[in-house]
């Protein structure tokens, strides 16, 4: 017997009822009596000394009530705030601006319009300073030191390495074949369609409530308490409906802090909503990794060793959102789906005059950078060996029987069947027929390419022995209350930004508790009511909070079993949980449903037992989870214009046990599109003066329905052995896996011309230039 809305069912989403009616409640929809608006003056310079800020004219603008400057904050020790990586970031500058569009002052007014007028009227006198745009130049001797406040007088923020350096060097030296590629993964921006913002309000008792676009409300509360010195019980963070996050709503931006300061200063609620230009130009970026990778193999095509060196451009401060112990995130998953004997990775973080960041872009802490690197260079190696890229992967994959598998860089992969996923993708796309077609087309001078990416992800951070953010361990939580009538409410430490938690968490609970998912309300995002958790990013909700849901439900079942035994007048040991109810072993019609048990918990609970039916679990995962997949992309190239068209894209994903197939497929569609975006379209450019070029949707081009192909999806299922229901997480897999498949396809189309790599985004003119030069040659 199945329970309605249990695990594995494609039930429709609960949250849709309000969204399709336009009744979602996003931050900008919050309207409080007497609310004021805050708008921000931003620097035109990427690096400059502030000589003066004149606010006289701004204060005369009708409706403007106050202007906040760095020196005003300095007096309250709020001019700087710590970043999640224990660096420091300006809320407002006192002395220097460090990137174009940095916050310089904040204007508070009685309307959005007046605040914008006030911003224009603030006069700032700057003295331009030398700008450092290129991270390589930042490391050269004599480069201006961007952060003289640090003890180390260098633009190198940190150096981090892992693996066996000498062993790797030796193994590469001894390899029959070694391939090296320099891969630049450019700076991009998550650009959720809702920008960031907040409404900050103090009540008469001095309690601060902030409605905020945040993926991690609890952590934000603690950060606010530590930074502003407010007592934590007097801070309430509410993350209402969030219009997409993708990592961009993890950090604390200066605007949030300014709104709180302004609310304190004026005694009114204050709303700050950034516009799209501010969002792209000032909020955290993703990627910006300059990677050099070398890979070795024996002559017969067996992988030997991998060496990766990377320069990471972090802007003027390290405001990445990574677990504390990992300044380069989980980049050392870079050995991917292959059993290297030896590997070594080193990363140098560098300061430049650019906005800070280093957040994910729908991925788990630099996993995309890693998957792209390995899947790109494996392709190059296969080509050098004269082997088909599919055959080469099949030959080298970690075999299914090797799991749990310890990688050369120290991770323990939980489960996998890489051959199975690739085989399935090849069958769906009819790989052999495509290769035949390609050979024929090549004879006719037509360009088509087939690209494979067989990625392994690492998500669900993470086990407390290794994972924390600012010391906060990366557990997550679920609290369940079963009401007397057998309905339930459950609250979580995570926060959905579109992933459908209200539906999928209810499905886990329905399965565990035998209550229809329709009868289970799910709440997240209010720190006054939800249990503490680290939030939703890095595909961690299902592996952590989803697991907490199972464990908390099982705690409830333990108590329910005793109540059922009491009601049935048997020993608890005589009962079994079967068909979503407790029944006397071997006597199916002697049973109690959860509804009956819940009623008894409040009306007829056993003597000596506490009344009620509630449980909470803070789940500390024993390991991370390792979703994987194999993608095959087919492209056609216009020889004259260099335009790349994706003809087909087949994605076979394995995320372990699937809670809601419909939602999983939706997540993969979205993830694939955010994989296509950086592969073909998105890139943030700077000119030599540090101006971000094209900092709006006029120039920063997100894929539309026209460029996006009709994704073809399929699955294999290899449950995680350590997750209570075997689920692994899926929100980001496709973003991680897709870029390499697309680039591999384009390179494959041009390989006969000697092309081994093209940096993303692959624009028509990059392809044209290659074709043009080859034709000319």
């Amino acid at each position: 017997m199945t329970v309605h809305g249990g695990v594995g069912q494609s039930i429709k989403r609960k949250e849709d009822a309000r969204f399709v009616r336009g009744k979602g409640n996003y931050v900008d929809d919050v309207k409080l009596p007497g609310m004021l608006y805050l708008d921000i003056v931003r620097s035109p310079y990427a690096h400059a000394r502030i000589r003066s800020i004149n606010i006289e004219k701004a204060l005369k603008v009708p409706g403007v009530l106050a202007v906040i400057r760095g020196k005003d904050l300095e007096a309250a020790n709020l001019a700087w705030m710590p970043t999640l990586m224990s660096d420091k970031q300006m809320v407002l500058p006192v002395e220097r601006v460090m990137y174009q569009s940095q916050e310089v002052a904040a204007v508070v007014a009685d309307s959005r319009y007046a605040a914008a007028d006030g911003v224009v009227a603030v006069e700032v006198d700057y003295e331009p300073l030398p700008v450092v745009v290129d991270p390589m130049k930042a490391l050269e001797p004599g480069a201006p030191i961007l952060r003289p406040d640090r003890k180390e007088q260098t633009n190198r923020i940190w150096h981090w390495e892992v693996g066996d350096r000498e062993g790797t060097d030796k193994a590469l030296k001894e390899s029959d074949v070694v391939v090296k590629e320099n891969l630049y993964i450019p700076r991009i921006h998550v650009s959720s369609i809702e920008t960031c913002g907040c409404v900050a309000s103090f009540d008469a008792m001095g309690k601060l409530t902030v409605w905020m676009t945040t993926q991690a409300p609890h952590a934000i509360r603690t950060v606010f308490a530590l930074v502003a010195g407010l007592p934590e019980q007097k801070i309430r963070i509410i993350s209402p409906d969030i219009g997409g996050g993708f990592g961009g709503k993890v950090p604390v931006y200066p605007g949030y802090v300014l709104a709180v300061v302004a609310a304190l200063k004026t005694g009114h609620p204050v709303k700050w909503i950034e516009d799209r230009s501010e969002n792209i130009q000032a909020d955290s970026f993703a990627r910006d990794y300059h990677i050099s990778a070398e890979i070795g193999a024996t002559r017969d095509g067996k992988l030997t060793a991998l060496r990766v060196k990377t320069i990471a451009d972090h802007g003027y401060t390290d405001a990445a959102a990574n677990p504390s112990k990992f300044p380069a995130g989980l980049f050392h998953i870079v050995t991917g789906s292959y059993p290297f004997e030896k590997a070594h990775v080193e990363v140098d973080g560098v300061y430049t005059n650019k906005p800070p960041g280093g957040i994910a872009y729908r991925c788990s802490f630099r996993v995309t950078e890693a998957a792209f690197t390995i899947e790109r260079i494996v392709d190059s190696l296969a080509r050098k060996l004269g082997m088909d890229p599919a055959e080469f992967r099949m030959k080298n994959f970690i075999p299914p029987e090797a799991f749990p598998f310890k990688s050369a860089l120290g991770w323990e992969y939980d489960s996998g069947n890489y051959q199975g996923a690739l085989r399935k993708a090849m069958d769906i796309v009819d790989y052999d027929a495509l290769r035949k077609e390609q050979a024929e087309k090549r004879k006719r001078g037509e360009l088509m390419g087939i690209g494979i990416s067989s990625f392994t992800e690492i998500v669900g951070a993470g086990p407390s022995h290794t994972f924390d953010i600012l010391g906060l361990k990366m557990f997550d939580s679920c609290e369940i209350r079963i009401h007397p009538t057998g309905k339930a409410i459950a609250r979580f430490g995570t926060k959905s930004q579109g992933q459908g938690h209200e539906t999928t968490y209810a499905q886990i609970l329905a399965e565990e508790l035998g209550i229809s998912s329709e009868d289970i309300a799910i709440e997240e995002g209010d720190t006054d009511t939800a249990p503490y958790g680290l939030g939703t990013y890095a595909s961690r909700s299902t592996p952590t909070a989803g697991a907490a849901a199972s464990i908390a439900a099982r705690k409830i079942r333990d108590k329910a079993q005793k109540i059922a035994a009491h009601l049935l007048e048997v020993s608890p040991d005589d009962l079994e949980w079967k068909d979503h109810k407790f029944q006397v072993k071997g006597v199916p019609d002697k049973a109690k449903t959860m509804a009956e048990i819940a009623f008894a918990a409040y009306t007829n609970h056993p003597p000596g037992m506490e009344a009620g039916l509630e449980a909470v679990d803070y789940y500390d995962p024993p390991n991370l989870t390792y979703p994987f997949g194999s993608y095959i992309c087919v492209v056609d190239i216009d020889k004259e214009t260099g335009e790349v068209k994706i003809r087909r894209f087949v994605a076979v994903d394995d995320c372990g046990t699937i809670i809601n197939p419909m939602i999983v497929e939706g997540q993969i569609h979205g993830g694939l599109t955010m994989g296509l975006a950086p592969a073909l379209l998105e890139e943030i450019h700077y000119d030599e003066n540090g101006n971000m070029l094209g900092g709006s949707f006029m120039d920063y081009l997100l894929p539309t329905a026209v460029e996006t192909p009709k994704w073809e999806t399929a699955k294999t299922t290899t449950p995680s052995p350590h997750h209570p229901i075997g689920a692994k997480g899926v929100g980001e897999s496709a973003t991680v896996g897709a870029p390499a498949a697309i680039v591999n396809a384009v390179v494959d189309a041009l390989a006969h011309l000697g092309v081994t790599h093209i940096d993303i985004p692959i624009t028509p003119w990059k392809v044209w230039k290659i074709l043009h030069e080859k034709r000319a040659a």
Binding site: A116, D275, S277, T641, E643, L693, G694, W768, K769
Partner: protein, 291 residues
């Protein structure tokens, strides 16, 4: 992003509109579709003292053909070109262009007059107008005059339109038998500003040679460019690849593209040739009765 303050006028007649424009002496801006103007104002890169909304003036939105011309009213929405059977059947160059201007929602507001007179070298319709030999009928407080498209585009955002003049109508020579035309453009992504666009218009004699030719280019100079030498080369030739190749080369020669987020200059120049060939071949096919 919030626009600055301005006075707003919604005149109900052409005369009233041009009087207001005249009164503000260059400090007023005509608001037609607003799809280019309002974003610039929201960025506070333009701060006109007054906006003159011409959408309430009757009969400025029309598409009709008379004995001599196709006449398109200034506030005709770009999408109306798409929806017009007349345009599809007889002036496909305009539906080619209109189909890919910005996006369908912008095209519901954006006007043909605005696209034509904004003076942005990346707008698509100016090249079409140059290729078709259009004339623009404009009104000022002192009267009406007609400006040929080839004299209209002076520099980036600078046109022959005086600050007290209002564009009323675009007049395009009536389509003739043996005429075919096409607009071809290359974009980084749909809805983006073009990398390059090429408009081609051919009229063939009954013997099948080219009687007259129009060829014009988008986004490769300070304004849309009329490729006069290329046009001249085509006249009298057979509408075939040889002639088109040379015309495409001649078109390349008049360009001065800049390197930007939409590609390096050398790419744009190369694409002028590729697109010119495609546009000419398509125009020729249409002149021969093809689609």
């Amino acid at each position: 992003m919030i626009p600055p303050r301005f006075e707003y006028f919604a005149p109900s007649s052409i005369d009233e509109a041009v009087q207001i424009l005249d009164r503000f002496g260059g400090e007023a801006k005509v608001l037609a579709g607003g799809q280019s103007l309002l974003p610039v104002m929201k960025l506070r890169l333009a701060e006109p003292r007054a906006l003159v909304d011409i959408n309430r003036i009757p009969d400025l939105a029309h598409i009709r053909e008379d004995a001599k011309s196709l006449r398109i009213g200034a506030t005709t929405r770009t999408n109306d070109l798409n929806d017009s059977e007349l345009i599809h059947a007889r002036y496909p160059i305009l539906s080619d262009a209109a189909y890919e201007i910005a996006d369908p929602l912008v095209r519901n507001m954006g006007t043909v007059g605005g696209n034509v007179s904004h003076g942005d070298p990346a707008n698509d319709l100016p090249a079409c107008m140059l290729a078709l030999g259009a004339h623009f009928v404009v009104r000022s407080p002192t009267g009406t005059r007609t400006i040929p498209a080839k004299e209209f585009y002076q520099d980036t955002f600078v046109t022959a339109l005086e600050s007290n003049e209002l564009l009323l109508e675009i007049q395009i020579p009536k389509a003739r038998p043996g005429q075919g035309n096409a607009y071809v453009k290359l974009e980084k992504r749909i809805g983006d500003f073009p990398i390059v666009g090429v408009a081609a218009n051919l009229v063939l004699t009954t013997k099948g040679t080219i009687e007259s030719a129009g060829l014009a280019l988008t986004a490769v100079g300070p304004t849309a460019l009329k490729a006069t030498e290329a046009e001249r080369h085509l006249v009298g030739k057979a509408p075939e690849d040889d002639a088109f190749q040379r015309a495409a080369e001649l078109a390349q020669e008049i360009t001065s593209p800049v390197s930007d987020l939409r590609g390096p200059a050398e790419y744009k120049r190369a694409m002028v040739r590729v697109l010119a060939l495609r546009a000419l071949h398509r125009a020729s096919a249409r002149a021969h009765g093809g689609a």
